[in-house]
């Protein structure tokens, strides 16, 4: 549905997006994960026709998108900030945006009702949007991106500043859009959101796409292992030696009132480790199992942690 190749954008002498390329199929959620200022929003604006790339190409539904105004009818854009008139009602906002897509009166009414229903706002459709909670505004912001029945939905950090309950609702909606066949590009700097929602993830940092794939593929790229931290008192060097004798534990070292273990399968080896420690007379007070995630992948690839 969406195919980008070699996208590059410069502002002044600074390269904001550097040779970025990715593709998204129908029914797929593609996450663009990166810290603030990484180039996610600039990339999305190029996809939506709001910025002209200095180099590269964009194809949407097989049609070259750059410079073609009509292709924008296939795209639903949900900007990072809530971009709606606060003094209009939800229905009026959606009708206004729907008219920009030249929908006839009947179709417009149907699409508005549908978008409100999808985002659970039907009951409040005639209330001014400045009376909405933050979560409701975010949902309406998404509804506005759906009113034209897009083939490609571009969501630019749709959950920023949203409470956990609303965030959960939004993520569930996004998954349902994909199940209905919509291609979704989802930018976020929340690692757990990308982990939870996206089928594939592209990691972007300083304007460059540094890695791409499913979560499993990215973690495999990292070649990382699970780690277990055991909190205990007594001779921790001896405890480390005991743990190292357990099958599956490849490294063990004592440090700061705990023993750090490295293993291929943290959850699988944990019962054996605890049993060995107990047999050796150690009282384990805390256990912390860490599995490699996108955060670890990001850290490995960029040398920096994802920032809120």
């Amino acid at each position: 549905m969406l195919s980008c190749h070699g996208l590059t954008k410069r502002f002044g002498g600074r390269v904001t997006v550097d040779d970025v390329g990715f593709s998204v199929g129908a029914g797929e959620i593609y996450g663009l994960l990166g810290p603030n200022g990484a180039g996610k929003t600039t990339t999305m604006k190029m996809v939506c026709g709001l910025l002209a790339p200095d180099a590269g190409s964009i194809t949407i539904a097989g049609r070259p998108a750059i410079g073609d105004v009509a292709v924008r009818a296939l795209v639903g854009y949900v900007p990072q900030d809530v971009a709606l008139y606060p003094d209009l009602t939800a229905r009026e906002n959606l009708e206004f945006l729907g008219r920009l897509y030249r929908l006839d009166r009947r179709t417009l009414a149907e699409r508005v009702a549908e978008a409100l229903e999808l985002t659970d706002l039907t009951d409040r459709k005639d209330d001014r949007t400045d009376s909405y909670s933050g979560g409701m505004k975010r949902r309406l912001n998404i509804a506005a991106g759906l009113v034209n029945h897009p083939k490609l939905l571009v969501l630019d950090e749709p959950t920023v500043g949203v409470d956990p309950q609303s965030r959960h609702a939004i993520l569930e909606r996004v998954r349902s859009f994909a199940r209905d066949g919509l291609a979704v590009v989802y930018t976020t700097h929340y690692m757990e959101e990308a982990d939870r929602v996206c089928d594939r993830v592209g990691i972007i940092d300083r304007g460059r796409l540094v890695a791409e794939g499913t979560r499993r593929e990215l973690v495999a790229q990292l070649g990382a292992h699970d780690s277990i931290a055991l909190g205990a008192s007594g001779d921790l060097d001896r405890l480390a030696a005991v743990c190292l004798s357990v099958r599956g534990v490849s490294e063990a070292a004592a440090a700061d009132h705990a023993v750090q273990l490295v293993t291929e399968d943290g959850r699988g080896v944990l019962p054996s480790v605890l049993e060995a420690a107990d047999r050796a007379g150690f009282a384990v007070t805390t256990v912390d199992v860490t599995e490699p995630d996108l955060e670890a992948v990001f850290l490995h690839l960029t040398g920096t942690a994802l920032r809120e």
Binding site: V69, D87, F96, R99, A144
Partner: protein, 389 residues
């Protein structure tokens, strides 16, 4: 065009819902029209006090003539002291004393004098005295006519009454004053001064402050969202412009209607007035669009816009006629489009001109509108939608 109308519809709906905007659009212009009109009208009505010491039919004829003269507000006084005091306190612009024996003198065909009292510091006393003197002269003419007729038949009182009755139907020799310098051309006074100048002032002011709405649309990200739809930049510019053309037109029609119906303002040649209103709305809307691209925040537009509008209105002759300022200031004033609009209204209302007579002013105003829209369009397309694909 459908998209442009959708944009105009949404923006207009927002303005109509804004109570502050409605106050500035409708209420304030009408209130100011009433106040300025009332003040200007008051300046043309002289306060005259009359002491009739004679109580004869000729003196009564003079009092009646004074009372029925437009622009004179006549009050009767019972004593000379009270009349003098009122004049001294500037409660009156002029006092008229009709002396005892006036009727007898006229019956005897002897000269008689009417005394005028005035306070030197009163700026209106000369004009008021001139107006009263003209009435006294007119009544004196009637008395002379009656005296002449009495030589042949009837009484002086009867002939004076007859002369008074016949005066409106008798051919008279009038004196017409015509100002031959263009500088002296000014709008009529009263509401006919306040209504057109308020229209010029407020339509522009409304539009300038309306730039805040465009700034807000920009800041809210709605402009960007519009741009993500299959809508060209020029359509967005057209839609936003249509909003303010429509709003200023509605405001103008309202002010014209209130001026005509409530205050009896004549707006002159209909075609000329309509053309002037439309072109002025285009100028104001162009200014609104420029303001919308210049200001960074709605608060800036709300604070700076009115100041700019009022300064231009002062320069352009909306607060006082440009005929009373120096030629240099008059030339500087014509940098403001308001001056050309007021000139056109003056031609329509004071000069009884038509659309052809104001064609030059309209052309200048149309040029202002064209330049303003061109600047706004360029700024919107370049700075608000940067590097648009």
């Amino acid at each position: 065009m459908i998209s442009a109308l959708a944009i105009a519809r949404a923006s207009t709906r927002r303005v109509v819902r804004d109570r502050t905007a409605v106050f500035f659009l409708v209420v304030l212009p009408i209130v100011l029209m009433v106040i300025v009109g009332a003040v200007a009208r008051g300046m043309t009505g002289f306060r005259v006090g009359v002491l009739d010491e004679d109580s004869s039919s000729p003196s009564a004829a003079l009092v009646t003539a004074l009372r029925t003269t437009p622009g004179l507000a006549v009050t009767s006084y019972a004593s000379l002291d009270s009349l003098r005091e009122a004049v001294a306190r500037s409660d009156l612009d002029v006092g008229v004393v009709i002396p005892h024996g006036l009727g007898a003198a006229e019956h005897a065909a002897r000269p008689a004098d009417v005394e005028l009292l005035a306070e030197q510091a009163n700026s209106s006393q000369q004009a008021a005295a001139a107006r009263v003197a003209s009435v006294v002269g007119r009544v004196g003419g009637l008395v002379q006519s009656a005296q002449f007729a009495t030589r042949f038949s009837g009484s002086l009182d009867g002939n004076l009454a007859l002369a008074t009755r016949l005066e409106p139907t008798t051919a008279s020799v009038g004196v017409e004053n015509e100002e031959v310098t263009a500088d002296a051309r000014t709008l009529p006074s009263g509401y006919e001064y306040s209504a057109p100048t308020e229209l010029v002032l407020f339509v522009f002011l409304t539009a300038l402050t309306g730039g805040a709405t465009l700034v807000e649309t920009r800041r809210l990200g709605v402009l960007e969202r519009m741009s993500a739809a299959p809508v060209r930049s020029r359509t967005i510019v057209l839609g936003e412009s249509l909003t303010y053309v429509a709003i200023t037109l509605v405001q103008s029609v309202l002010l014209v209607a209130v001026g005509a119906l409530a205050f009896g303002v004549s707006w002159g040649d209909r075609t000329g007035a309509a053309a002037l209103v439309v072109v002025w709305c285009l100028v104001a809307s162009g200014a609104c669009m420029v303001a919308g691209t210049l200001f960074r925040t709605p608060e800036q537009a709300g604070a700076i816009g009115p100041v700019v509008g009022i300064v231009l209105a002062m320069l352009g002759g909306c607060m006082w006629p440009l005929s009373i300022v120096s030629p240099t200031m008059r030339a500087i004033g014509h940098v403001a489009p308001q001056a050309w609009a007021v000139d056109a209204w003056t031609t329509l209302l004071a000069g009884h001109g038509n659309v052809a007579a104001i064609a030059g002013d309209l052309a200048v105003l149309a040029s202002y509108a064209l330049v303003l829209f061109a600047v706004a369009s360029a700024r919107l397309r370049r700075s608000l939608l940067p590097s648009r694909a």
